[in-house]
């Protein structure tokens, strides 16, 4: 459980360091959102790995929340992959929006993962 708490703190840091549209245009914004989305993804994957180690302990609520975490992670990955292709084509505006969307999906995954942790541990 200690590792889960560490991932929570990491998530907190990642969401603190939000970025966004920059005066210098979409390129900087896209790169910034890319970093944040990828960093947040790492933290979510960490939470998920820990949850999978613990297992849902037969708790249907935890099971549902873990499934949600995976689903949001997958949605985030789809958006991330779309954005990666867009950035390769130097379509920074679309990439910026899609990295942002990926990040939003990862935040949703984090919410579900943290709720699963609360259900399993009470903390």
């Amino acid at each position: 459980m200690r590792r889960l708490n560490i991932f929570s703190i990491l998530l907190l840091f990642l969401i603190t360091t939000t970025t966004g549209f920059s005066q210098n245009g979409y390129r900087e914004s896209a790169l910034s959102w890319q970093k944040q989305a990828k960093d947040t993804r790492k933290a979510v994957v960490g939470v998920l790995e820990e949850l999978e180690k613990i297992g849902d302990k037969g708790n249907p609520d935890a099971k549902g929340l873990i499934e949600d975490t995976k689903k949001w992670l997958e949605e985030g990955d789809n958006a991330l992959s779309k954005a990666d292709k867009e950035i390769e084509k130097e379509d920074y505006e679309k990439a910026s929006y899609d990295y942002n969307m990926a990040w939003q999906y990862y935040v949703k995954a984090a919410t579900a993962g943290l709720n699963a942790k609360r259900v399993l541990t009470g903390q």
């Binding site: 929570s8 998530l11 907190l12 969401i15 603190t16 939000t18 970025t19 966004g20 549209f21 914004s29 708790n59 609520d61 929340l65 679309k94 910026s96 929006y97 899609d98 942002n100 969307m101 939003q104 935040v107 984090a110 919410t111 943290l114 709720n115 609360r118 259900v119 009470g122 903390q123």
Partner: protein, 669 residues
């Protein structure tokens, strides 16, 4: 010790708690000769698997029969369009007040002319079918005097249709619904100014002014606008006075929650905004969804509004009249110094003014801080015209660093803040599902203790708003907070896929916050709640006089009185003056012809507390609730021939079933 082993460490706690209980009840016993603590209490605790903390929580929330709660919460009823009245600490549901949605028990919207007229006043101003029968109630606001709850009136908004309702707390009944001109959605409502001069209603989704003026989304920046309404409240009449109300045109950002300044910041109002990117979506066309488009920038704008100055501008006539209400144009709001912006963490929710009016706390849902602005610094920056620039609509933007006082790192997804009487603030934290307690700065706390996270308590789950006892007034009480959780997941016995919401009562009197009680809310998604000391309320137990009309809050000239009952026919109209008392209506037989208009005036002539009568006519969708002394009128066309019993729908006496009569509708020949 053997039999205590199963209780483990907790067993000691139970012993201590029960001993304390015994001590206190023992003390009472010598005074009142009441009963002892039952011998089986330990066995009950053990059999029910209660921990010492559970027992302590039970002791702190249990209110014996005949005893009353210390606080009353007025909760939004969410989608139900109603208001829930809940006692604290018992968390007992005391009443559901019919507001925007017809409510049969109270006869609200089921035939009584009085309630029908109130509901109709809130219907849409355009369209063939203007009827609205539901509402998304969000934020109730108690009337205030000098920034403190005065227990006289209650207001609530309907986000879905931009409406405001007024409830009189003498009888806990809805008196007025106003369909706000020009606006079609709201969110920053209702919040009152410190003497209830105005009820503030901030809009949510930008639209043309008025909303019924069509404009395509391609013209969003040019034709769409935000709006904030200041509904003038006439306390003497107990009604919103739209002739004195006004609106301020705002840029087409999506304005969110508001709060009125108090004490030091009296005369000002503060509203959050989101979507300063002016995203309009278009996911179906491959465009970024609104949620991505609206969170591109790091900062949105806190709207700082000088409503005292706006009053002057309205008096000077520098307004446009649109849809019957005075509107201050955006350029006038800027040139007259009514409107300023301050950058705030993006997608914020709560903006909450500290008890002395000196700090404004903003919580950005995608940030991890609460951001605290100093009202003094805001004023200094305005006076010095120290702006970092202007937004595309010419609104001056104050420099964030010039006006920010502090930022407190509290967790993932801060949402809404309340205050206690000891210089602490409590913020709901959505993503991580906690309530965070943190300290305010000087003068609430010495410098070394200022702006520090004190403690967090887990809540279950996805907390939205929170409420603490009188926690948004100039003099918060402390004692209790309630976490208004959107999800309950595993907290209650399953009742199908639609789960109740979860109100969690928290004791904030000790060193550590303590969770006391979970209350399921199975009627909608309540958003916000206000909690008032119960002794500030002075509700009537019965109406002051027989023949009292709650719609006018006065005795009715046309109310039927004992001995004056009658039936009169004038042409095709049959008018009936009826009284109700245990256990009969008088008259009991009403004979009409198919197609007649029937006008029934009914008075409950009882004077005893709780002696309510219902009046329902089978098959005609009519049901009234007549509280002792109340008079009401029903008008309908007897379009269905046949025999229709009417009866009292309250179990009013042993002969309740006999409290009935007949409506005889003779068919047309």
């Amino acid at each position: 010790m053997g039999k205590w082993k199963k209780l483990g460490i907790g067993g000691l706690g139970i012993v201590v708690t029960l001993s304390l209980l015994f001590f206190f009840t023992g003390t009472l016993q010598t005074k009142s000769q009441q009963g002892k603590l039952p011998k089986g209490a330990e066995e009950i605790a053990r059999a029910r698997g209660l921990s010492p903390q559970d027992i302590e929580a039970a002791l702190k929330t249990y209110v014996p029969t005949g005893k009353y709660d210390e606080y009353i919460m007025f909760s939004s009823g969410g989608h139900s369009g109603q208001i829930l009245v809940i006692g604290v600490p018992s968390m007992r549901l005391l009443k559901v007040i019919g507001v925007f949605t017809p409510e049969p028990w109270q006869g609200f919207g089921f035939g009584s002319k009085e309630s029908g007229d109130i509901l109709k006043a809130g219907y849409m101003p355009v369209g063939k079918d203007r009827t609205l029968t539901w509402a998304d109630t969000h934020h109730p606001a108690l009337s205030e005097t000098n920034g403190d709850y005065d227990g006289q009136y209650l207001f609530i908004n309907d986000k879905a249709n931009s409406r405001i309702a007024v409830i009189d707390l003498r009888d806990f009944e809805t008196k007025q619904i106003v369909k706000t001109p020009n606006m079609i959605s709201d969110h920053g409502a209702t919040f009152v100014t410190p003497n209830t001069e105005y009820v503030i209603e901030g809009g949510q989704y930008a639209a043309p002014i008025p909303f019924s003026n069509y404009a395509p989304l391609e013209e969003y920046k040019e034709k769409y606008r935000g709006l904030i309404t200041f509904h003038a409240f006439d306390r003497k009449k107990g009604r919103i006075d739209e002739s004195r109300s006004f609106q301020i045109e705002l840029p087409p950002y999506w304005q969110d929650l508001c709060d009125a300044g108090k004490k030091e910041s009296y005369g000002w109002a503060f509203c959050n905004s989101l979507n300063t990117e002016m995203a309009t979506g278009g996911i179906e066309e491959g465009k970024p969804p609104i949620e991505a488009g609206a969170s591109q920038r790091d900062m949105d704008y806190l709207h700082v509004i000088n409503w005292k100055k706006a009053e002057e501008v309205v008096r000077a006539g520098k307004v446009k009249e649109i849809s019957g209400i005075k509107v201050i144009p955006l350029e006038t709001a800027v040139s007259e110094g009514i409107l300023y912006f301050i950058p705030e963490p993006k997608s914020p929710h709560g903006v909450d003014v500290a008890p002395r009016g000196d700090y404004i706390v903003v919580s950005g849902k995608l940030d991890t801080h609460t951001t605290i602005y100093s009202f003094k610094k805001i004023q200094n920056a305005i006076k010095a015209k120290n702006f970092e620039g202007k937004d595309p609509y010419g609104v001056p933007i104050l420099n964030f660093n010039d006006v920010v006082e502090a930022q407190v790192e509290i967790g993932l997804g801060p949402l809404h803040t309340q205050f206690d009487d000891k210089g602490n603030a409590y913020t709901s934290v959505f993503i991580e599902s906690t309530i965070a307690k943190w300290t305010l700065g000087e003068p609430y706390n010495p410098k070394e203790k200022a702006w520090k996270l004190v403690e967090k308590i887990p809540v279950h789950y996805n907390v939205g708003h929170l409420v603490c006892a009188e926690g948004d007034t100039v003099s918060p009480d402390g004692k209790y907070c309630v976490s208004l959780n959107k999800w309950s997941i595993d907290r209650f016995t399953p009742v199908g896929p639609l789960h109740p919401q979860n109100f969690q009562l928290i004791d904030i009197t000790g060193e550590k916050m303590q969770l006391l009680y979970d209350m399921p809310i199975g009627i909608g998604e309540p958003h916000y709640v206000q909690m008032i000391k119960a002794d500030k309320l002075s509700p009537w137990l019965v109406y002051p006089e027989v023949g009292f009309n709650p719609a006018t809050m006065s005795k009715s000239d046309t109310a039927p009185l004992p001995g004056k009952e009658k039936i009169e026919r004038k042409g095709d109209t049959v008018e009936v003056w009826m009284t109700a008392i245990r256990s009969h209506f008088n008259p009991e037989r009403i004979k009409v012809k198919e197609g007649d208009k029937v006008v029934l005036h009914i008075t409950n002539i009882e004077r005893a507390r709780d002696a309510t009568h219902g009046f329902a006519i089978d098959g005609y969708n009519i049901n009234l609730s007549l509280e002792p002394g109340e008079t009401s009128t029903v008008e309908f066309v007897a379009d269905k021939p046949g025999v229709y019993p009417f009866y009292c729908t309250e179990f009013c006496s042993a002969l309740h079933l006999e409290m009935a009569g007949y409506l005889l509708v003779e068919p047309k020949k």
